[in-house]
């Protein structure tokens, strides 16, 4: 009997304290800086173009294959305004499939993609799941309008998590060009590790499957990529 009284005492005590819940649509909890929403692209305000060069590294490393990226020549580079030879042409992320794993952010060599850490993302309740396939303007919107004030990107994140060594601007541009060459010709001009240009010459080449992924259109490449396993 005493046990029941003790239980009731606990309940009464709990009834007297303030509620811990937040009434969601009207009140929102503050999100931590590192909060990982869905991935969005960043806008380079200095040159007025996206940071993304369309190098497809993220698309290849995405575990669920939810990204599609294509690349084009950068008109701003021809006009001498930008250092990026290549720039993203089309970019699709299927938010319905994304599992918010952060891998695309970690592998991107150009700091072009981050996880949304605000509440003002894309509303995920839709009537048709096709509506959740985001295109380039939709992905850039948050960064362009300044909604994404302080995206979290660990300064050493890439190197720390062991994905890729940092590249400086020149190497990055070379990488972008090389990637595009490889895409068009299906071969690599000099370096074995095109998608992963590393300053370290002893670094290993990317997995074989990556090379095969280079040859087709991005859509086809995504399919190929996962079939290239050794097992």
């Amino acid at each position: 009997m005493l046990g029941v009284l003790k239980a009731i005492q606990t309940t009464v005590k709990a009834a007297l304290r303030k509620p811990v819940t937040v009434q969601y649509p009207t009140e929102k909890k503050t999100l931590p800086h590192r909060s990982r929403g869905l991935p969005v692209l960043l806008w380079d305000f200095d040159i007025n173009e996206p940071f993304c060069t369309g190098c497809q590294v993220c698309a290849r490393y995405c575990p669920v294959d939810c990204m599609t990226v294509t690349m084009k020549d950068n008109p701003n580079f021809a006009a001498g305004k930008s250092k990026r030879k290549k720039i993203v042409d089309k970019f699709y992320i299927d938010y319905a499939r994304c599992m918010r794993c952060d891998i695309c952010v970690e592998v991107c060599n150009f700091d072009a993609i981050v996880m949304n850490n605000t509440w003002q993302g894309v509303e995920l309740s839709r009537y048709d799941r096709q509506d959740l396939v985001m295109d380039l303007p939709a992905l850039l919107r948050q960064s362009k309008t300044g909604e994404l004030e302080t995206p979290f990107r660990e300064p050493m994140g890439v190197a720390h998590s062991g994905w890729a060594p940092r590249m400086d601007e020149e190497e990055a541009a070379a990488a972008a060009e090389a990637a595009s060459l490889e895409k068009h010709h299906g071969t690599s001009p000099d370096k074995p590790s095109l998608s992963a240009p590393t300053p370290d010459p002893t670094a290993e080449a990317p997995p074989e499957s990556k090379a095969s992924a280079e040859q087709g259109t991005p859509e086809a490449a995504e399919g190929l990529e996962k079939e290239g396993g050794e097992g």
Binding site: G3, R36, P63, I103, G157, S161, G162, P206, G231
Partner: protein, 378 residues
């Protein structure tokens, strides 16, 4: 079987056993799990567990993934003990590849894994309270504190559940600045919550009446059935992989291994409740001695190629022995990737534990196993 419990005048009637389906969509089955109960009146004479509704190919999928992409799949294997499962996987890869994670990373892993154990046991108490008829009360209490832990994890990893934070060689990024103070604050508040849960449940007449002496398991049976974790410790056997085969840096911490006496449902509760206190103790010790320094091993290549070989790594997850068996053929993908789910093995003892009990008690017995269906089916 067990005919004598019927009133005498009924035994003259001709009765038949009937089959009752519990699940797959049933709140008492903790996921999509089906039990076909053969009942004789209120007595259960046979239990046929049907699993597989949650099968997603979580063992096969990683065989087409880069070693670092696999981590996310381990979060989804046991979605209540993500850090423990990640810990198991990254240690397996590290052992195979010969990577030594830096000291600080090891501490971070232990702190987070132990916090995760508390969160998982809280979830157990919440769900178990619902099973025995405490309705929402224990659930709300436990979830309030679990939420505190999840908020804390979100501050570190950015995610509330699927953290994807450990990496072969270390952890993805460093802890926030105020980590130590914040962690002890969370621990304090959670421990207060555990006290409340203790007061609400452990001496509660309802819990005592329904759990004490229900389906006792002997040590021999426990071992023979392949039980592990709190289920095995409740039988009285002091077996904890953190002690029996210390991995990571668990040999540096002091903690007790709580055990039960007769392996009944109540003992399982007691063991889990005490484990939360022990985990909190480990976290406090780790916080005191956590060094500064790098969080990622040096010299890792962009593409992680693991030398050919095989490894079996096991950790003490909140549910028991969680194991990962990896076979590498020297490429960047595991050639074989096998997971030993603790709940799967524990669940296989369900029939032996339930036959001869009442239907309502079988629900409690199932609840006390603390299954996570994603881990059972994988």
């Amino acid at each position: 079987m067990a005919i004598e419990t019927r009133p005498p005048h009924e035994s003259d009637l001709e009765t038949i056993d009937i089959n009752v389906n519990v699940g797959p969509q049933h709140p008492a089955t903790h996921g999509v799990f089906r039990m076909v109960l053969t009942i004789d009146g209120e007595l259960v004479v046979d239990v046929d567990p049907v699993i597989g509704y949650m099968h997603r190919g979580n063992e096969k999928l990683p065989e087409n993934c880069d070693y670092r992409q696999v981590i996310g799949y381990h979060d989804r294997t046991d979605y209540l003990a993500q850090f423990n499962t990640e810990h198991c996987y990254v240690e397996a890869v590290e052992r195979l590849a010969g990577i030594k994670p830096p000291e600080r990373a090891e501490y971070i892993r232990v702190v987070l894994a132990e916090m995760n154990r508390i969160a998982s046991h809280l979830m157990f108490f919440g769900a178990f309270g619902t099973d025995i008829g405490l309705f929402g009360t224990s659930f709300m209490y436990a979830f309030r504190d679990r939420e505190t832990i999840q908020d804390f994890f979100e501050e570190i990893t950015g995610e509330r559940m699927m953290y994807n934070y450990f990496r072969p060689g270390g952890v993805a990024w460093d802890l926030p600045d105020n980590f130590r103070q914040r962690c002890s604050q969370v621990l304090d508040s959670v421990e207060r919550g555990v006290e409340q849960l203790d007061g609400l449940m452990m001496e509660n007449e309802v819990v005592l009446a329904r759990c004490r002496g229900l389906s006792p398991v002997t040590v021999e049976d426990g071992i023979n059935w392949g039980l592990s974790g709190p289920m095995l410790r409740a039988t009285g056997l002091k077996h904890d992989i953190r002690r029996a085969e210390p991995y990571s840096i668990y040999d540096r911490f002091q903690f007790d291994i709580p055990t039960g006496k007769q392996g009944d449902v109540y003992d399982r509760l007691v063991v889990r409740l005490e484990e939360m206190h022990q985990s909190a103790w480990i976290v406090r010790q780790a916080l005191e001695t956590m060094p500064e320094g790098p969080i990622m091993a040096e010299g890792l290549k962009r593409v992680l190629r693991v030398p050919a070989g095989e490894v079996y790594m096991r950790v003490e997850s909140p549910r028991g022995e969680y194991g990962v068996y990896l076979v590498s053929q020297g490429s960047d993908k595991p050639w074989r990737h096998k997971v030993r789910g603790a709940s799967f093995s524990n669940l296989s003892a369900l029939r032996a534990m339930s036959v001869g009990n009442f239907v309502s008690d079988v629900i409690i017995i199932l609840g006390s196993i603390d299954i996570v269906l994603c881990e059972v089916d994988r």
